[in-house]
């Protein structure tokens, strides 16, 4: 698939936006998913997510973008009665094969949820939670990990003097960045973000977007968002989904200025959704 990029300079000019030249890290092939038997939430989804880029999933509510996201770290496994067909692989390895250890996968694929969910413990404890459950015991090593994760999440300067305070005393935006730091502490390859700023005020949102911008060099980020401006601002590639189907996946600049599909155009111009 060759994509013709006409409007490359109009948006995020510095990014490469040729999908075919990207190295694929995560790939799905013909994924079908049913929460209830016979009702397909995902229909034949095939997508190749590029490495160390920000990929945004957009689409109307209930289109299955969050569901697809949760397939990538197998959070959907917890839901009773769910069934999935098709292939999802990371670095060419099928993540649904029985040899895959769930804990290893989730260490590799971090997740930030829509509602910030810091644990009711200290800030340090929150960030160290992941490394700790994954077997790191030494305090010095943990300290180092916590510090670097908090720095990457742009939170270090705000909390470095009160690492033992309860995480619940932080503001909403800080809590969400703490959750990002918590995911980063596991040194993941991929970070899944499920509408990470949907419950935040504009200032906190822009801080989160800045954080994402800083992380794009080292991590593959997949972000689900309702906010099309946000998708346009932060992502390199955007996938538009509707009623469980992958309608269009393209460079963000292309998708928002010159979509290939009529449906995409209708959606981004606000004719529905």
């Amino acid at each position: 698939m060759k994509i013709n990029v006409n409007v490359q300079n109009s948006l995020s000019a510095s990014y490469t936006t040729d999908l075919s030249k990207e190295k694929t890290i995560l790939e799905t092939k013909n994924v079908d998913l049913c929460y209830v038997p016979q009702v397909k939430t995902l229909k034949n989804v095939t997508i190749q997510i590029p490495e160390k880029k920000v990929t945004a999933f957009i689409g109307p509510s209930g289109c299955g973008k969050s569901t697809l996201l949760r397939c990538f770290n197998r959070m959907n496994d917890l839901i009773p009665g769910i069934s999935m067909k098709g292939l999802i692989s990371i670095d060419g390895i099928d993540i649904y094969s029985p040899e895959i250890k769930l804990e290893e996968l989730r260490k590799k694929v971090g997740m930030v949820f829509q509602k910030s969910n810091p644990f009711p413990m200290g800030i340090w404890e929150n960030v160290a939670f992941g490394p700790k459950v994954n077997g790191i015991k030494e305090k010095a090593e943990l300290d180092e990990i916590v510090e670097s994760a908090l720095i990457q999440a742009d939170l270090w300067n705000e909390v470095k003097d009160r690492l033992n305070n309860s995480a619940l005393d932080l503001s909403g935006g800080q809590q969400q960045r703490l959750c990002i730091a918590r995911a980063l502490a596991n040194k993941p390859e991929i970070i899944l973000m499920d509408e990470p700023a949907s419950a935040l005020d504009p200032i906190s949102t822009s801080k989160i977007e800045e954080t994402i911008d800083e992380l794009r060099e080292n991590y593959t980020i997949i972000i689900v968002t309702h906010n099309m401006q946000q998708a346009a601002r932060v992502s390199d590639y955007t996938a538009f989904m509707m009623t469980g189907e992958m309608v269009e996946f393209n460079a963000t600049s292309k998708l928002f200025t010159n979509p290939e599909k009529k449906l995409t155009e209708d959606y981004i111009t606000g004719r529905f959704g």
Binding site: L78, P120, F129, V133, L168
Partner: protein, 546 residues
């Protein structure tokens, strides 16, 4: 009229109705608690003793307790009101009863003489009398003598000292005798079980004789000393005169405490009051539980509740965890939940019977046969004891703990659980680090409810190990310190036993009130400590306000 109709239609009447319901319930609770409080605390107070002269010239020395008006019928068929007074005449050994109702019309005079003395005795309850004289050190002291009461006190101390010395000597004697009784027991066991081993029996008998010869002089000496103490104490006695003029010789070693209530001021009475409360809490019961303290019952109750909590909490929490976190939700889990909820409604005596049949006869009996067969037919664990009673109660309170823990677990935000799993935690790590700490307030609620239910339960205990009077506490300084096979005393059973099974119900009434008060107090204390702990944890784990 219209107003009334609108009043009903608007539903304002239901405000009154609901408020009335609440008021009624509150009033009943307050009424009950205040009765127990007043009666319980009043019973420690040293009442003044009145000398009541009757019109027929009989005299009572007694505490006036209450006045009651009764309706009587005269010979002509007319009814009339009559005031009656309940007095505590004490002196059970003389008058056969402690209490008496007298007719207030027949009283000619009531006085409060200074020199009336109340003796609390080790046996037969109180003695109220005038002291005539005292025999001490071979001399006779009269009441009018100078320093009479100081001498009386020192005589009393001396007799107490003698008594405790005598008890120590007796204990010593027991220790000396114990190897012999051990051998004698062995001989009798051999003779019953292996009568053909005559050689061994002979050998044991020889050993016994040697031992006997060795310690004979020691025994002789100890017996002499004891004898001496007995004689010494028999020479310390007071002559007292009861209200009706009977003279009694009262050896002071039979006295537990004496005081002259009419001669006491408020401060010394308060002192006596506090001393009595203290004694009630720390001493052993006397006189088939109607007097003395309730310490063994307090100890038994608290220890049983703690044992029960230790047994029930881990099981209840684990069961609830499995039911909520691991089990596949569906028909079976619903059925199990229903069964657990219903278990909470099973009458407690049914649990008691189950405990008797399963724990004591089956488990205890089997353990006895396997490990304590040398002591059979005397049961070790095959009889009621604090262990089996606690286990029975933990079974009884298990549903409460399971249900409360489940609620606690359900209250843990799913976002936190997902968050932990998304960070690569295993399910057990997630449960241990997220679910359990967050569910702790719920678990503690379960513990609180279990304690409230368990501490007040009596029926199942009566057949699984509670006794009227336990000779020893279930805890002492000999290895292994906690003797879970021992029978124990319990405040709830104490109330039942003293109040309804004692030969002298009226004399033991104060004991019933004070024990009830204490039981309520202990339950409240246990509950409060659990509630404080829960609130502390709640604060710590308050969920995000965001």
């Amino acid at each position: 009229m219209k107003k009334i109709i609108t009043f009903w239609k608007k539903g304002d009447s239901y405000i009154l109705l609901t408020a009335g319901g609440l008021l009624f319930s509150l009033a009943m609770v307050i009424f009950m608690i205040s009765i127990i409080l007043i009666k319980g605390f009043a019973s420690f107070y040293a009442n003044d003793v009145a000398e009541i002269k009757m019109k027929d010239n009989s005299i009572y020395l007694a505490e006036i307790l209450e006045t009651e008006e009764v309706v009587l019928q005269s010979e002509s068929g007319k009814t009339y009101n009559q005031k009656q007074i309940n007095i505590k005449i004490a002196n059970r050994d003389i008058f056969d009863q402690d209490f008496k109702w007298i007719n207030s019309n027949e009283i000619s005079k009531i006085e409060y003489p200074q020199n009336v003395t109340v003796f609390e005795r080790w046996e037969y309850g109180n003695l109220i009398a005038y002291v005539k004289n005292l025999n001490y050190n071979g001399k006779v002291y009269q009441t009018r003598d100078k320093d009479f009461w100081d001498i009386f006190s020192s005589a009393f101390e001396k007799s107490e000292e003698n008594k405790s010395e005598k008890e120590n000597l007796e204990e010593e004697l027991n220790d000396v005798l114990s190897p012999i009784s051990e051998i004698q027991r062995e001989i009798s066991l051999m003779e019953i079980n292996f009568p053909w081993k005559t050689k061994e029996i002979e050998k044991l008998k020889q050993q016994e004789e040697i031992l006997q010869a060795e310690i004979n002089s020691q025994i002789e000496q100890l017996n002499q000393k004891i004898e001496q103490k007995v004689i010494e104490n028999s020479e310390i006695y007071a002559t007292v005169q009861a209200g009706d003029g009977t003279e009694i010789t009262l050896p002071l070693e039979k006295v537990y405490r004496f005081y002259r209530p009419n001669d006491m001021n408020f401060i010394s009475k308060s002192g006596l009051y506090l001393t009595r409360i203290w004694e009630f809490l720390v001493e052993e019961p006397r006189e088939s539980n109607t007097e003395g303290g309730v310490f063994p019952a307090i100890f038994g109750t608290v220890m049983m509740v703690i044992l029960m909590s230790i047994a029930v909490v881990p099981f209840g929490v684990l069961a609830a965890l499995y039911l909520n976190e691991y089990a596949k939700q569906g028909f079976v889990t619903r059925l199990i939940r229903l069964a657990i909820a219903n278990l909470a409604g099973v009458p407690s005596i049914v649990y008691g019977i189950f405990g008797l049949g399963f724990f004591i006869y089956f488990l205890g009996g089997t353990i006895d046969q396997l490990f304590f067969s040398s002591k059979l037919p005397e049961p070790t664990l095959g009889t009621g004891g604090i262990l089996w009673a606690s286990l029975t109660l933990s079974l009884l309170t298990l549903p409460v703990v399971v249900v409360a823990t489940e609620e606690g677990i359900l209250a843990v935000p799913k976002a936190n659980k997902d968050g932990a799993l998304a960070l690569g935690a295993t399910k057990w790590q997630m449960i241990r680090k997220i679910v359990l700490p967050n569910a702790m307030p719920g678990i503690l609620t379960g513990v609180i409810l279990a304690i409230s239910r368990g501490a007040g339960e009596v029926a199942p205990l009566m057949i699984t190990g509670v006794v009227k009077l336990a000779p020893t506490l279930p805890f002492d300084t000999t290895f292994p310190f906690f003797h879970l096979d021992r029978k124990f005393m319990h405040l709830g059973f104490h109330i039942y036993d003293v109040g309804f099974q004692s030969p002298n119900v009226e004399a033991s009434l104060p004991m019933v009130y004070t024990t009830a008060l204490l039981l309520i107090f202990i339950v409240i204390t246990l509950n409060l400590s659990a509630i404080f702990l829960r609130n502390y944890l709640r604060k710590k784990f308050k969920t995000s306000a965001f």
